[in-house]
Protein backbone atom coordinates (compact mmCIF):
# COMPACT_ATOMS: atom_id res chain seq x y z
CA UNK A 1 0.00 0.00 0.00
CA UNK A 2 1.18 3.48 -0.75
CA UNK A 3 0.31 6.41 1.44
CA UNK A 4 1.69 9.90 1.49
CA UNK A 5 3.91 8.70 4.34
CA UNK A 6 6.23 7.11 1.81
CA UNK A 7 6.64 10.43 0.09
CA UNK A 8 10.25 11.40 0.80
CA UNK A 9 10.07 14.92 -0.58
CA UNK A 10 11.06 17.58 1.94
CA UNK A 11 8.03 18.99 3.72
CA UNK A 12 6.96 22.39 2.52
CA UNK A 13 5.82 24.87 5.15
CA UNK A 14 2.20 24.33 4.34
CA UNK A 15 2.76 20.58 4.68
CA UNK A 16 4.27 20.95 8.14
CA UNK A 17 1.20 22.82 9.22
CA UNK A 18 -1.11 20.43 7.47
CA UNK A 19 0.34 17.50 9.40
CA UNK A 20 0.12 19.36 12.70
CA UNK A 21 -3.50 20.31 12.17
CA UNK A 22 -4.36 16.75 11.14
CA UNK A 23 -2.57 15.34 14.17
CA UNK A 24 -4.54 17.69 16.42
CA UNK A 25 -7.80 16.57 14.81
CA UNK A 26 -6.95 12.90 15.35
CA UNK A 27 -5.88 13.50 18.91
CA UNK A 28 -9.13 15.34 19.57
CA UNK A 29 -11.11 12.42 18.19
CA UNK A 30 -9.20 9.97 20.36
CA UNK A 31 -9.52 12.24 23.41
CA UNK A 32 -13.30 11.98 23.29
CA UNK A 33 -12.99 8.30 24.13
CA UNK A 34 -10.62 9.05 26.99
CA UNK A 35 -13.05 11.67 28.33
CA UNK A 36 -16.00 9.31 28.09
CA UNK A 37 -14.15 6.43 29.73
CA UNK A 38 -13.00 8.73 32.54
CA UNK A 39 -16.56 9.95 32.96
CA UNK A 40 -17.92 6.39 33.16
CA UNK A 41 -15.16 5.36 35.58
CA UNK A 42 -15.91 8.30 37.81
CA UNK A 43 -19.62 7.47 37.88
CA UNK A 44 -18.99 3.75 38.35
CA UNK A 45 -16.26 4.14 40.96
CA UNK A 46 -18.38 3.91 44.15
CA UNK A 47 -19.76 0.51 43.24
CA UNK A 48 -16.44 -0.81 41.89
CA UNK A 49 -14.79 0.16 45.14
CA UNK A 50 -17.48 -1.03 47.53
CA UNK A 51 -18.82 -4.10 45.79
CA UNK A 52 -16.00 -5.01 43.43
CA UNK A 53 -15.91 -6.30 39.91
CA UNK A 54 -15.88 -9.92 41.06
CA UNK A 55 -19.28 -9.70 42.74
CA UNK A 56 -20.72 -7.76 39.81
CA UNK A 57 -19.86 -10.73 37.63
CA UNK A 58 -20.60 -13.54 40.08
CA UNK A 59 -23.77 -12.40 41.89
CA UNK A 60 -26.53 -14.91 41.13
CA UNK A 61 -29.09 -12.35 39.99
CA UNK A 62 -29.76 -8.71 39.18
CA UNK A 63 -31.96 -7.24 41.92
CA UNK A 64 -30.39 -3.88 42.77
CA UNK A 65 -33.14 -3.07 45.25
CA UNK A 66 -32.17 -6.19 47.17
CA UNK A 67 -28.41 -5.70 46.83
CA UNK A 68 -27.74 -8.23 44.08
CA UNK A 69 -25.77 -6.95 41.09
CA UNK A 70 -25.04 -9.92 38.80
CA UNK A 71 -24.17 -8.70 35.31
CA UNK A 72 -22.93 -11.98 33.81
CA UNK A 73 -26.22 -13.07 32.15
CA UNK A 74 -26.47 -9.67 30.47
CA UNK A 75 -22.89 -9.87 29.18
CA UNK A 76 -23.77 -13.23 27.62
CA UNK A 77 -27.00 -11.85 26.17
CA UNK A 78 -25.27 -8.82 24.65
CA UNK A 79 -22.64 -11.02 23.04
CA UNK A 80 -25.21 -13.49 21.72
CA UNK A 81 -27.40 -10.79 20.19
CA UNK A 82 -24.49 -8.92 18.59
CA UNK A 83 -22.89 -12.09 17.25
CA UNK A 84 -26.21 -13.27 15.81
CA UNK A 85 -26.92 -9.92 14.19
CA UNK A 86 -23.47 -9.70 12.60
CA UNK A 87 -23.56 -13.29 11.35
CA UNK A 88 -26.94 -12.61 9.77
CA UNK A 89 -26.35 -9.09 8.45
CA UNK A 90 -22.79 -9.72 7.22
CA UNK A 91 -23.58 -12.09 4.33
CA UNK A 92 -26.78 -10.24 3.42
CA UNK A 93 -24.97 -6.90 3.51
CA UNK A 94 -22.10 -8.06 1.31
CA UNK A 95 -24.53 -9.77 -1.07
CA UNK A 96 -26.56 -6.54 -1.28
CA UNK A 97 -23.43 -4.59 -2.18
CA UNK A 98 -22.43 -7.10 -4.86
CA UNK A 99 -25.98 -6.98 -6.18
CA UNK A 100 -25.90 -3.20 -6.50
CA UNK A 101 -22.48 -3.15 -8.13
CA UNK A 102 -22.51 -6.19 -10.42
CA UNK A 103 -26.00 -7.58 -10.87
CA UNK A 104 -28.70 -4.95 -10.85
CA UNK A 105 -29.37 -2.75 -13.86
CA UNK A 106 -28.61 0.93 -13.26
CA UNK A 107 -32.09 2.14 -12.22
CA UNK A 108 -32.67 -0.85 -9.97
CA UNK A 109 -29.21 -0.44 -8.45
CA UNK A 110 -29.75 3.20 -7.54
CA UNK A 111 -33.22 2.46 -6.13
CA UNK A 112 -31.77 -0.33 -4.03
CA UNK A 113 -28.93 1.89 -2.87
CA UNK A 114 -31.39 4.60 -1.88
CA UNK A 115 -33.41 2.06 0.08
CA UNK A 116 -30.25 1.09 1.96
CA UNK A 117 -29.48 4.74 2.77
CA UNK A 118 -33.02 5.33 4.02
CA UNK A 119 -32.84 2.18 6.09
CA UNK A 120 -29.57 3.46 7.59
CA UNK A 121 -31.31 6.62 8.70
CA UNK A 122 -34.44 5.03 10.08
CA UNK A 123 -34.64 5.89 13.79
CA UNK A 124 -33.99 2.85 15.91
CA UNK A 125 -37.22 3.61 17.74
CA UNK A 126 -39.18 3.16 14.50
CA UNK A 127 -37.51 -0.19 13.89
CA UNK A 128 -38.20 -1.06 17.51
CA UNK A 129 -41.83 -0.06 17.17
CA UNK A 130 -42.15 -2.21 14.08
CA UNK A 131 -40.42 -5.09 15.83
CA UNK A 132 -42.67 -4.76 18.86
CA UNK A 133 -45.96 -4.56 16.98
CA UNK A 134 -45.25 -6.78 13.96
CA UNK A 135 -42.32 -9.11 14.50
CA UNK A 136 -42.72 -10.00 18.19
CA UNK A 137 -46.37 -11.13 17.87
CA UNK A 138 -45.34 -13.22 14.82
CA UNK A 139 -42.60 -14.94 16.80
CA UNK A 140 -44.97 -15.23 19.76
CA UNK A 141 -47.25 -17.38 17.66
CA UNK A 142 -44.44 -19.90 17.21
CA UNK A 143 -43.20 -19.78 20.77
CA UNK A 144 -44.55 -17.36 23.42
CA UNK A 145 -43.76 -14.75 24.65
CA UNK A 146 -42.22 -13.64 21.34
CA UNK A 147 -40.02 -10.96 22.83
CA UNK A 148 -36.80 -12.91 22.65
CA UNK A 149 -33.18 -13.27 21.64
CA UNK A 150 -34.20 -14.06 18.07
CA UNK A 151 -36.37 -10.93 17.82
CA UNK A 152 -33.39 -8.84 18.94
CA UNK A 153 -31.09 -10.54 16.44
CA UNK A 154 -33.49 -10.01 13.53
CA UNK A 155 -34.26 -6.34 14.17
CA UNK A 156 -30.65 -5.52 14.94
CA UNK A 157 -29.49 -7.30 11.78
CA UNK A 158 -31.89 -5.15 9.80
CA UNK A 159 -30.43 -2.11 11.49
CA UNK A 160 -26.74 -2.78 10.81
CA UNK A 161 -27.20 -4.30 7.36
CA UNK A 162 -27.14 -0.92 5.54
CA UNK A 163 -23.81 0.06 7.12
CA UNK A 164 -22.19 -3.19 6.02
CA UNK A 165 -23.74 -3.01 2.55
CA UNK A 166 -22.88 0.64 1.94
CA UNK A 167 -19.28 0.48 3.18
CA UNK A 168 -18.73 -2.64 1.09
CA UNK A 169 -20.28 -0.96 -1.91
CA UNK A 170 -18.07 2.11 -1.48
CA UNK A 171 -15.04 -0.19 -1.41
CA UNK A 172 -16.19 -1.99 -4.55
CA UNK A 173 -16.64 1.38 -6.20
CA UNK A 174 -13.14 2.49 -5.30
CA UNK A 175 -11.49 -0.74 -6.43
CA UNK A 176 -9.16 -0.20 -9.40
CA UNK A 177 -10.85 -1.12 -12.66
CA UNK A 178 -7.70 -2.97 -13.71
CA UNK A 179 -8.60 -5.90 -11.45
CA UNK A 180 -11.83 -6.42 -13.31
CA UNK A 181 -10.16 -6.03 -16.68
CA UNK A 182 -7.53 -8.56 -15.66
CA UNK A 183 -10.17 -11.03 -14.58
CA UNK A 184 -12.10 -10.48 -17.80
CA UNK A 185 -8.92 -11.03 -19.83
CA UNK A 186 -8.47 -14.38 -18.08
CA UNK A 187 -11.96 -15.31 -19.15
CA UNK A 188 -13.23 -15.67 -15.58
CA UNK A 189 -16.97 -15.80 -15.07
CA UNK A 190 -18.63 -13.00 -13.09
CA UNK A 191 -19.01 -15.31 -10.11
CA UNK A 192 -15.40 -16.50 -10.24
CA UNK A 193 -14.28 -12.88 -10.43
CA UNK A 194 -16.34 -12.08 -7.33
CA UNK A 195 -15.08 -15.04 -5.32
CA UNK A 196 -11.49 -15.04 -6.54
CA UNK A 197 -10.64 -11.39 -7.19
CA UNK A 198 -13.13 -8.92 -5.80
CA UNK A 199 -13.87 -10.26 -2.34
CA UNK A 200 -10.20 -10.84 -1.47
CA UNK A 201 -9.40 -7.33 -2.74
CA UNK A 202 -11.95 -5.55 -0.59
CA UNK A 203 -11.92 -7.81 2.45
CA UNK A 204 -10.20 -5.11 4.51
CA UNK A 205 -13.00 -2.64 3.85
CA UNK A 206 -15.63 -5.27 4.50
CA UNK A 207 -13.96 -6.05 7.80
CA UNK A 208 -13.99 -2.36 8.66
CA UNK A 209 -17.70 -2.11 7.96
CA UNK A 210 -18.47 -5.29 9.86
CA UNK A 211 -16.39 -4.10 12.79
CA UNK A 212 -18.24 -0.79 12.97
CA UNK A 213 -21.55 -2.60 12.75
CA UNK A 214 -20.60 -5.10 15.42
CA UNK A 215 -19.66 -2.24 17.71
CA UNK A 216 -22.96 -0.56 16.95
CA UNK A 217 -24.81 -3.84 17.56
CA UNK A 218 -23.18 -4.16 20.96
CA UNK A 219 -23.97 -0.53 21.77
CA UNK A 220 -27.53 -0.34 20.46
CA UNK A 221 -30.11 0.39 23.11
CA UNK A 222 -33.64 1.36 22.19
CA UNK A 223 -34.36 -1.47 19.77
CA UNK A 224 -33.24 -4.13 22.23
CA UNK A 225 -35.20 -2.55 25.03
CA UNK A 226 -38.32 -2.86 22.91
CA UNK A 227 -38.05 -6.37 21.48
CA UNK A 228 -35.92 -8.68 23.62
CA UNK A 229 -38.16 -9.04 26.67
CA UNK A 230 -35.56 -7.70 29.13
CA UNK A 231 -35.62 -10.65 31.50
CA UNK A 232 -32.23 -11.05 33.16
CA UNK A 233 -31.16 -14.63 32.56
CA UNK A 234 -28.72 -16.72 30.58
CA UNK A 235 -30.05 -17.36 27.10
CA UNK A 236 -30.50 -21.08 26.47
CA UNK A 237 -32.73 -21.09 23.40
CA UNK A 238 -33.26 -18.52 20.64
CA UNK A 239 -36.81 -17.98 21.90
CA UNK A 240 -35.76 -17.06 25.44
CA UNK A 241 -36.30 -13.48 26.53
CA UNK A 242 -32.99 -11.82 27.43
CA UNK A 243 -31.73 -8.46 28.63
CA UNK A 244 -28.75 -6.78 26.98
CA UNK A 245 -26.32 -4.62 28.99
CA UNK A 246 -27.40 -1.54 27.09
CA UNK A 247 -31.11 -2.21 27.60
CA UNK A 248 -30.32 -2.56 31.29
CA UNK A 249 -28.90 0.97 31.33
CA UNK A 250 -31.78 2.46 29.39
CA UNK A 251 -34.48 0.68 31.41
CA UNK A 252 -33.24 1.59 34.84
CA UNK A 253 -30.99 4.64 34.62
CA UNK A 254 -33.92 7.03 34.82
CA UNK A 255 -34.98 5.59 38.17
CA UNK A 256 -31.66 4.58 39.71
CA UNK A 257 -29.88 6.23 42.63
CA UNK A 258 -26.61 5.53 44.45
CA UNK A 259 -25.05 2.08 44.00
CA UNK A 260 -27.73 1.05 41.54
CA UNK A 261 -26.87 3.98 39.27
CA UNK A 262 -23.15 3.28 39.60
CA UNK A 263 -23.74 -0.39 38.71
CA UNK A 264 -25.49 0.76 35.52
CA UNK A 265 -22.38 2.73 34.58
CA UNK A 266 -20.40 -0.48 35.13
CA UNK A 267 -22.76 -1.99 32.52
CA UNK A 268 -21.68 0.80 30.18
CA UNK A 269 -17.99 0.15 30.87
CA UNK A 270 -18.61 -3.52 30.28
CA UNK A 271 -20.03 -2.78 26.82
CA UNK A 272 -16.96 -0.69 25.98
CA UNK A 273 -14.76 -3.54 27.22
CA UNK A 274 -16.62 -6.07 25.08
CA UNK A 275 -16.19 -3.86 22.03
CA UNK A 276 -12.48 -3.52 22.81
CA UNK A 277 -12.07 -7.29 23.08
CA UNK A 278 -14.04 -7.78 19.91
CA UNK A 279 -11.89 -5.30 17.99
CA UNK A 280 -8.66 -6.83 19.26
CA UNK A 281 -9.72 -10.38 18.44
CA UNK A 282 -10.98 -9.50 14.98
CA UNK A 283 -7.72 -7.66 14.23
CA UNK A 284 -5.76 -10.71 15.25
CA UNK A 285 -7.97 -12.99 13.15
CA UNK A 286 -8.49 -10.88 10.07
CA UNK A 287 -5.05 -9.33 9.93
CA UNK A 288 -6.89 -6.14 10.82
CA UNK A 289 -6.94 -3.16 8.63
CA UNK A 290 -4.56 -4.27 5.99
CA UNK A 291 -5.29 -3.21 2.45
CA UNK A 292 -2.36 -5.16 1.04
CA UNK A 293 -4.17 -6.85 -1.77
Amino acid sequence: MTSSKQNTLPLSRSDTWLIRVLAVASTAAACILVLIVLFMLQEAWPVLQRIGLLRLLSDPAWHPAEGLYGLAPMVAASLAIAAGAVLLAGPFGVASALFVRFYAAAPLASAFRLALLLLAGLPSVVLGLWGLTVLVPLIGRIEPPGASLIAGVLVLALMILPTIALTTEAALDAMPESYLRGAAALGLSRESTILGVILPAVKGSIMAGVLLSAARALGETVVLLMVTGNVVRLPVSLFDPVRALTANIALEMAYAMGDHRAALFVSGLMVALLVLLFVLVSRRLGGGWSFNV
Partner: protein, 275 residues
Amino acid sequence: MRKHFAAARPAMLFTALLLWSGTVARADEARLILTGSSTIAPLAAEIGKRFETLNPGIRIDVQSGGSSRGISDARSGIADIGMVSRAPNPGESDLKFFGVARDGVSIILHRDNAVPSLTDAQITGIFKGNITDWKDVSGKPGRITVVNKAEGRSTLELFLNYFKLRNSEIKAHVVIGDNAQGVKTVAGNPGAIGYVSIGAAEFEAGQGTPIKLLPMSGVAPSVENVRNGSFPLSRTLNFVTKSEPQGLARRFIDFARSRNVDDLIKAEYFAPFAE
Protein backbone atom coordinates in the same frame (compact mmCIF):
# COMPACT_ATOMS: atom_id res chain seq x y z
CA MET B 1 4.44 33.59 12.18
CA ARG B 2 1.21 34.74 10.66
CA LYS B 3 0.47 31.18 9.58
CA HIS B 4 0.45 30.15 13.25
CA PHE B 5 -2.56 32.30 13.80
CA ALA B 6 -4.24 31.25 10.61
CA ALA B 7 -4.28 27.68 11.82
CA ALA B 8 -5.27 28.55 15.35
CA ARG B 9 -8.08 30.87 14.34
CA PRO B 10 -10.88 28.30 14.10
CA ALA B 11 -9.95 26.93 17.50
CA MET B 12 -9.94 30.42 19.02
CA LEU B 13 -13.25 31.25 17.43
CA PHE B 14 -14.75 28.07 18.78
CA THR B 15 -13.47 28.73 22.31
CA ALA B 16 -14.81 32.25 22.14
CA LEU B 17 -18.18 30.94 21.04
CA LEU B 18 -18.25 28.50 23.93
CA LEU B 19 -17.36 31.20 26.48
CA TRP B 20 -19.89 33.60 25.03
CA SER B 21 -22.64 31.05 25.02
CA GLY B 22 -21.80 30.06 28.59
CA THR B 23 -22.43 33.59 29.84
CA VAL B 24 -25.57 34.08 27.77
CA ALA B 25 -27.09 30.86 28.98
CA ARG B 26 -26.94 32.05 32.55
CA ALA B 27 -28.21 35.58 31.93
CA ASP B 28 -31.82 34.60 31.29
CA GLU B 29 -33.91 35.11 34.42
CA ALA B 30 -37.52 34.65 33.34
CA ARG B 31 -36.95 30.98 32.60
CA LEU B 32 -38.06 28.03 34.69
CA ILE B 33 -36.41 24.66 34.15
CA LEU B 34 -38.20 21.43 35.04
CA THR B 35 -36.54 18.03 34.70
CA GLY B 36 -37.49 14.49 35.67
CA SER B 37 -40.13 11.83 35.27
CA SER B 38 -41.07 10.96 31.70
CA THR B 39 -44.58 10.17 32.95
CA ILE B 40 -45.11 13.77 34.08
CA ALA B 41 -43.12 15.53 31.34
CA PRO B 42 -45.88 15.64 28.68
CA LEU B 43 -48.37 17.02 31.22
CA ALA B 44 -45.87 19.57 32.60
CA ALA B 45 -45.05 20.72 29.06
CA GLU B 46 -48.74 21.38 28.36
CA ILE B 47 -49.20 23.19 31.69
CA GLY B 48 -46.06 25.18 30.86
CA LYS B 49 -47.45 26.23 27.49
CA ARG B 50 -50.64 27.52 29.07
CA PHE B 51 -48.65 29.33 31.75
CA GLU B 52 -46.50 30.94 29.02
CA THR B 53 -49.52 32.27 27.15
CA LEU B 54 -50.96 33.72 30.38
CA ASN B 55 -47.59 35.24 31.36
CA PRO B 56 -45.88 36.61 28.24
CA GLY B 57 -42.08 36.76 28.38
CA ILE B 58 -41.75 33.77 30.67
CA ARG B 59 -40.34 30.48 29.41
CA ILE B 60 -41.04 27.12 30.96
CA ASP B 61 -38.50 24.54 29.75
CA VAL B 62 -39.56 20.97 30.51
CA GLN B 63 -36.91 18.25 30.20
CA SER B 64 -37.52 14.52 30.46
CA GLY B 65 -35.13 11.95 31.95
CA GLY B 66 -36.68 10.05 34.85
CA SER B 67 -37.71 10.51 38.48
CA SER B 68 -34.20 10.08 39.86
CA ARG B 69 -32.98 12.82 37.53
CA GLY B 70 -35.77 15.03 38.87
CA ILE B 71 -34.58 14.42 42.42
CA SER B 72 -30.87 14.97 41.70
CA ASP B 73 -31.40 18.03 39.47
CA ALA B 74 -33.71 19.69 41.98
CA ARG B 75 -31.12 19.01 44.69
CA SER B 76 -28.16 20.33 42.68
CA GLY B 77 -30.10 23.34 41.45
CA ILE B 78 -29.78 22.45 37.75
CA ALA B 79 -33.57 22.38 37.66
CA ASP B 80 -35.84 24.82 39.46
CA ILE B 81 -38.45 22.11 39.81
CA GLY B 82 -37.99 18.34 39.65
CA MET B 83 -40.72 15.97 38.49
CA VAL B 84 -41.08 12.73 40.46
CA SER B 85 -43.73 10.12 39.76
CA ARG B 86 -43.56 8.37 43.13
CA ALA B 87 -43.85 9.01 46.86
CA PRO B 88 -40.75 10.44 48.60
CA ASN B 89 -38.10 7.90 49.67
CA PRO B 90 -36.78 8.01 53.24
CA GLY B 91 -33.60 9.82 52.13
CA GLU B 92 -35.48 12.64 50.44
CA SER B 93 -36.93 14.52 53.41
CA ASP B 94 -34.74 17.53 52.51
CA LEU B 95 -36.93 18.19 49.45
CA LYS B 96 -40.41 19.69 49.21
CA PHE B 97 -43.01 17.55 47.39
CA PHE B 98 -46.11 19.04 45.74
CA GLY B 99 -48.75 16.69 44.32
CA VAL B 100 -49.99 17.71 40.88
CA ALA B 101 -52.05 14.75 39.68
CA ARG B 102 -52.93 11.17 40.55
CA ASP B 103 -52.51 8.03 38.51
CA GLY B 104 -53.69 4.45 39.09
CA VAL B 105 -52.34 1.07 38.08
CA SER B 106 -54.52 -1.60 36.53
CA ILE B 107 -54.04 -5.25 35.56
CA ILE B 108 -54.54 -5.70 31.82
CA LEU B 109 -55.19 -8.81 29.69
CA HIS B 110 -55.63 -9.38 25.98
CA ARG B 111 -59.22 -8.67 24.88
CA ASP B 112 -59.68 -12.24 23.63
CA ASN B 113 -58.85 -13.65 27.06
CA ALA B 114 -62.04 -15.14 28.52
CA VAL B 115 -61.06 -14.61 32.17
CA PRO B 116 -63.46 -11.97 33.60
CA SER B 117 -61.62 -11.22 36.83
CA LEU B 118 -58.86 -12.55 39.06
CA THR B 119 -58.62 -12.71 42.84
CA ASP B 120 -55.60 -11.21 44.57
CA ALA B 121 -54.40 -14.74 45.39
CA GLN B 122 -54.65 -15.79 41.74
CA ILE B 123 -52.70 -12.72 40.61
CA THR B 124 -50.01 -13.43 43.19
CA GLY B 125 -49.86 -17.05 42.04
CA ILE B 126 -49.52 -16.06 38.39
CA PHE B 127 -46.76 -13.53 39.00
CA LYS B 128 -44.87 -15.93 41.28
CA GLY B 129 -44.96 -18.60 38.60
CA ASN B 130 -47.15 -21.06 40.60
CA ILE B 131 -49.96 -20.75 38.06
CA THR B 132 -48.68 -21.04 34.49
CA ASP B 133 -51.74 -21.89 32.44
CA TRP B 134 -54.97 -19.93 31.98
CA LYS B 135 -57.04 -23.12 32.46
CA ASP B 136 -56.07 -23.07 36.16
CA VAL B 137 -57.88 -19.76 36.63
CA SER B 138 -60.99 -20.83 34.68
CA GLY B 139 -59.79 -19.54 31.34
CA LYS B 140 -59.14 -21.21 28.01
CA PRO B 141 -56.01 -23.44 28.09
CA GLY B 142 -52.89 -21.51 27.08
CA ARG B 143 -49.56 -20.51 28.51
CA ILE B 144 -49.49 -17.37 30.66
CA THR B 145 -46.97 -14.70 29.70
CA VAL B 146 -46.14 -12.56 32.72
CA VAL B 147 -45.28 -8.95 31.85
CA ASN B 148 -43.45 -7.16 34.65
CA LYS B 149 -42.09 -3.60 34.98
CA ALA B 150 -38.40 -2.74 35.19
CA GLU B 151 -36.66 -2.02 38.48
CA GLY B 152 -37.32 1.41 39.99
CA ARG B 153 -40.68 2.13 38.31
CA SER B 154 -43.15 3.44 40.84
CA THR B 155 -45.88 1.32 39.24
CA LEU B 156 -43.72 -1.71 40.11
CA GLU B 157 -43.30 -0.54 43.71
CA LEU B 158 -47.04 0.02 44.04
CA PHE B 159 -47.77 -3.40 42.61
CA LEU B 160 -45.23 -5.16 44.86
CA ASN B 161 -46.48 -3.39 47.97
CA TYR B 162 -50.10 -4.13 47.27
CA PHE B 163 -49.53 -7.83 46.66
CA LYS B 164 -46.78 -8.12 49.31
CA LEU B 165 -44.28 -9.47 46.81
CA ARG B 166 -40.55 -9.02 46.35
CA ASN B 167 -39.34 -8.35 42.82
CA SER B 168 -37.02 -11.36 42.98
CA GLU B 169 -40.05 -13.63 43.54
CA ILE B 170 -41.70 -12.62 40.27
CA LYS B 171 -41.15 -15.02 37.37
CA ALA B 172 -41.43 -12.60 34.46
CA HIS B 173 -41.38 -13.55 30.78
CA VAL B 174 -41.18 -9.97 29.55
CA VAL B 175 -39.90 -6.91 31.38
CA ILE B 176 -41.06 -3.56 30.07
CA GLY B 177 -40.18 0.09 30.62
CA ASP B 178 -42.97 2.45 29.71
CA ASN B 179 -46.73 2.04 29.75
CA ALA B 180 -47.16 2.18 25.99
CA GLN B 181 -44.70 -0.70 25.64
CA GLY B 182 -46.75 -2.70 28.16
CA VAL B 183 -49.96 -2.05 26.28
CA LYS B 184 -48.37 -3.05 22.95
CA THR B 185 -46.84 -6.18 24.47
CA VAL B 186 -50.15 -7.39 25.90
CA ALA B 187 -52.03 -6.42 22.74
CA GLY B 188 -49.65 -8.58 20.70
CA ASN B 189 -49.86 -11.67 22.92
CA PRO B 190 -53.22 -13.33 23.73
CA GLY B 191 -51.76 -15.12 26.77
CA ALA B 192 -50.21 -12.07 28.41
CA ILE B 193 -50.97 -10.42 31.73
CA GLY B 194 -49.46 -7.10 32.74
CA TYR B 195 -50.11 -3.95 34.72
CA VAL B 196 -49.93 -0.37 33.44
CA SER B 197 -51.12 3.13 34.18
CA ILE B 198 -54.94 3.19 34.13
CA GLY B 199 -55.21 6.33 32.04
CA ALA B 200 -53.08 4.89 29.24
CA ALA B 201 -54.90 1.54 29.33
CA GLU B 202 -58.37 3.13 29.39
CA PHE B 203 -57.52 5.33 26.44
CA GLU B 204 -55.98 2.52 24.36
CA ALA B 205 -58.89 0.15 25.09
CA GLY B 206 -61.27 2.92 23.99
CA GLN B 207 -59.28 3.32 20.75
CA GLY B 208 -59.81 -0.33 19.86
CA THR B 209 -56.44 -1.72 21.00
CA PRO B 210 -57.19 -5.37 21.93
CA ILE B 211 -56.68 -5.14 25.69
CA LYS B 212 -59.04 -5.17 28.66
CA LEU B 213 -58.73 -3.85 32.20
CA LEU B 214 -59.49 -6.07 35.20
CA PRO B 215 -61.26 -4.80 38.31
CA MET B 216 -59.18 -4.79 41.49
CA SER B 217 -60.89 -6.20 44.63
CA GLY B 218 -64.20 -5.47 42.95
CA VAL B 219 -63.43 -1.82 42.15
CA ALA B 220 -63.63 -0.95 38.46
CA PRO B 221 -60.39 0.52 37.11
CA SER B 222 -61.20 4.03 35.91
CA VAL B 223 -59.71 7.50 36.19
CA GLU B 224 -62.84 8.47 38.13
CA ASN B 225 -62.22 5.81 40.81
CA VAL B 226 -58.58 6.95 41.05
CA ARG B 227 -59.75 10.53 41.57
CA ASN B 228 -62.20 9.66 44.33
CA GLY B 229 -59.63 7.43 46.02
CA SER B 230 -61.64 4.18 45.94
CA PHE B 231 -59.22 2.40 43.60
CA PRO B 232 -56.60 0.61 45.73
CA LEU B 233 -53.55 0.96 43.46
CA SER B 234 -52.72 4.61 42.88
CA ARG B 235 -49.85 7.04 43.12
CA THR B 236 -49.24 10.78 43.22
CA LEU B 237 -47.33 12.66 40.52
CA ASN B 238 -45.18 15.28 42.23
CA PHE B 239 -43.28 18.51 41.62
CA VAL B 240 -40.21 18.72 43.84
CA THR B 241 -38.17 21.72 44.96
CA LYS B 242 -35.01 22.05 47.04
CA SER B 243 -36.44 24.62 49.44
CA GLU B 244 -39.77 26.38 49.92
CA PRO B 245 -40.43 27.69 46.37
CA GLN B 246 -40.32 31.45 45.80
CA GLY B 247 -41.38 33.81 43.02
CA LEU B 248 -41.86 32.27 39.62
CA ALA B 249 -41.48 28.66 40.81
CA ARG B 250 -44.14 29.26 43.49
CA ARG B 251 -46.54 30.79 40.97
CA PHE B 252 -46.03 27.93 38.53
CA ILE B 253 -46.55 25.22 41.16
CA ASP B 254 -49.70 26.95 42.44
CA PHE B 255 -50.94 27.22 38.87
CA ALA B 256 -50.28 23.52 38.21
CA ARG B 257 -52.21 22.58 41.37
CA SER B 258 -55.17 24.82 40.55
CA ARG B 259 -58.40 23.97 38.74
CA ASN B 260 -57.15 25.94 35.72
CA VAL B 261 -55.32 22.87 34.44
CA ASP B 262 -57.94 20.17 35.12
CA ASP B 263 -58.68 19.82 31.42
CA LEU B 264 -54.96 19.36 30.63
CA ILE B 265 -54.63 16.68 33.32
CA LYS B 266 -57.67 14.89 31.93
CA ALA B 267 -56.29 15.15 28.40
CA GLU B 268 -53.23 13.20 29.62
CA TYR B 269 -55.55 10.61 31.26
CA PHE B 270 -54.56 11.38 34.84
CA ALA B 271 -56.85 12.34 37.72
CA PRO B 272 -56.70 15.95 38.96
CA PHE B 273 -55.12 16.35 42.36
CA ALA B 274 -57.00 19.51 43.35
CA GLU B 275 -60.22 18.80 45.22
